[in-house]
């Protein structure tokens, strides 16, 4: 059965498409702020540290999803505070949290029976295993990402471009920055289901970087990268269904290829 007739038949594929939509929207929004702030490292730190929360949740028998949301937000706040009190060791601290969070996750999962399957699903994602319940949770997270960003759009932009100017005009820059990292953290959790934690950085940075080649405003980059993210995840889904390949990896390679082509195209044009 080909991909499109399967899509109308199987609910797991329909769930996958819905998950891709939620991922595209959150990723387009958060990825743009990751891109303009050049904080791929912080986003990567949050993503990898989330595994610790997931591992602990699995070990103690609570919902891994809740564990992921909690850890992601916790690390967003911690990393926000570390960055605001920037010292020369900022990178080291973020790197340490990144690696230690991940290690904790691996140990917790090792201690839990059946760890190997779990670990792989969180590290590499499996969009084809998204359940009805997951869809509800993902839709809530995506809605939060949209609402918070819409409300704070001007403040996010102002703090990203010139934090001191924003502070001077009364914006609570530190809080706005931490809120922005929290939006990124929620997106990490959405993407965990779709491309997995390891590939979150690629999926969060490539669509926005591609969109930035063609757009000169933050708003424009968001719109275009939501569209690109959706196309990337759908084509990843299509390829992995048709040739039975791991979805997250396919999505990442498609994004990378399009980014490379766009970059070469824009260089040639100039």
């Amino acid at each position: 059965m080909d991909f499109f007739s399967a899509l109308s038949t199987y609910s797991f594929l329909q769930n996958a498409v819905l998950a891709a939509i939620f991922a595209a929207v959150s990723c387009g929004i958060s990825g743009t702020f990751v891109y303009v702030n050049r904080i791929t490292f912080i986003a990567g730190g949050i993503a990898h540290a989330v595994l610790g929360g997931v591992g602990a949740a699995v070990y103690f028998g609570i919902s891994p999803f809740a564990g992921a949301v909690f850890t992601a937000l916790l690390f967003a706040v911690l990393l926000g505070i570390i960055r605001l009190r920037a010292s020369q060791h900022e990178d080291t601290v973020i790197g340490a949290m990144w690696a230690c969070g991940m290690s904790a996750g691996i140990i917790f999962m090792y201690l839990t029976p059946g760890y190997a399957v779990n670990l792989n699903n969180y590290l590499f994602g499996n969009i084809l295993l998204v359940s009805k319940g997951d869809i509800t949770a993902l839709s809530v997270l995506a809605a939060l990402v949209i609402v918070i960003t819409a409300l704070f759009f001007r403040q996010f932009k102002a703090v990203s471009f010139d934090e001191e100017n924003a502070t001077l005009h009364g914006v609570k820059s530190s809080l706005v920055y931490i809120l922005m990292l929290s939006v990124i953290a929620l997106t990490v959790v959405v993407l965990m289901k779709v491309v997995g934690l390891i590939l979150v950085i690629a999926f969060m940075s490539l669509p926005a970087a591609t969109a930035a080649i063609f757009q000169r405003k933050v708003g424009g980059i968001i719109v275009l990268s939501v569209i690109l993210s959706f196309i990337f995840s759908m084509s990843g889904l299509f390829v992995s269904y048709t040739w039975n390949l791991p979805t997250g990896a396919v999505i990442t390679l498609v994004s990378g290829a399009v980014y490379a082509v766009a970059l070469i195209f824009s260089k040639l044009k100039n």
Binding site: R154, Q155, H169, K217
Partner: protein, 266 residues
């Protein structure tokens, strides 16, 4: 522009100084010291800026000029001493004070247009949703017109020349109609014709706005301003007619000594 340097205008400046004596104080530094870690950056700095002053702070790199601006803005707190801006602690007058940072501090690749940069001069803690009000749009358009950059409204900020970037940042600062304008090296990295233009514009704005400007170069500054302060850890204030002694001090800065040899006898 040459007119500013001839003698008649020197008299104008003197007249202006006479008037300024009666103006209210807007910024006051009282024995302010600042340490960055264990390094003493400023020692017992005392001065005041009055309404409609055009005040230049001159000094070598690392002498504490930018620190003075940052103290005025409330970004850092003095280690000892007291600073007031409009009688209040700095960092509380969100609408009255505006700042023009060095444009080189911004990410050249940041996706933002000139108009959007100027609109950021109007942001508040209550600016929600991705919309600008009609009055915000008008104020931004007004500020861009004053700085002669209306035709660049849609251009990407990072693509502009140094002079146009500087104008954009000045437009952003005046968009909110501030009473004090602080500028950090406004003519660093622009060529001398742009430098003249920018000073002329500032002089025009000075009719309504108090200006405090930091510069490492005394150059044109002395013919425009009505007060000069020299800072290299300690602070010495002059009237602009004494520009020469400031120049001498300026040379003294190149030596290793941190004490200023004060030759004016004020």
């Amino acid at each position: 522009m040459g007119r500013r340097i001839d003698n008649n205008d020197k008299n104008d400046n003197n007249d202006k100084r006479g008037k300024i004596l009666d103006k209210p104080e807007v910024i006051n530094f009282d024995k302010v010291s600042f340490f960055y870690g264990k390094n003493e950056i400023l020692r017992d700095v005392t001065f005041s800026v009055k309404k409609e002053d055009f005040f230049a702070i001159i000094g070598p790199n690392g002498g504490g000029k930018t620190t003075i601006l940052r103290l005025m803005l409330g970004f850092i707190k003095p280690t000892s001493g007291k600073i007031t801006v409009f009688g209040e602690e700095p960092g509380r007058n969100f609408t009255k004070i505006a700042s023009v940072p060095q444009f080189s501090s911004h990410d050249r690749l940041f996706p933002i247009t000139v108009e959007e940069v100027v609109l950021q001069g109007l942001i508040k803690s209550t600016s929600f949703l991705p919309i600008y009000t009609k009055s915000e749009k008008e104020k931004a358009a007004d500020a861009m017109k004053k700085l002669g950059i209306s035709d660049r409204a849609g251009a990407r900020f990072g693509d502009l020349s140094g002079g146009l970037k500087q104008r954009t940042l000045i437009a952003r600062a005046i968009a909110s109609d501030p009473e004090i304008l602080l500028l950090d090296e406004p003519v660093a990295s622009v060529d001398s014709s742009v430098e003249k233009d920018i000073y002329e514009m500032l002089l025009d704005m000075n009719k309504k706005i108090t200006i405090v400007m930091v510069s490492h170069d005394i150059g044109f500054v002395s013919s425009f301003v009505n007060k000069i302060g020299c800072v290299n850890k300690i602070f010495v204030e002059h009237n602009s007619k004494d520009e020469m002694c400031c120049l001498e001090e300026h040379h003294a800065y190149s030596g290793k000594t941190t004490m200023i040899h004060h030759k004016c006898g004020i």
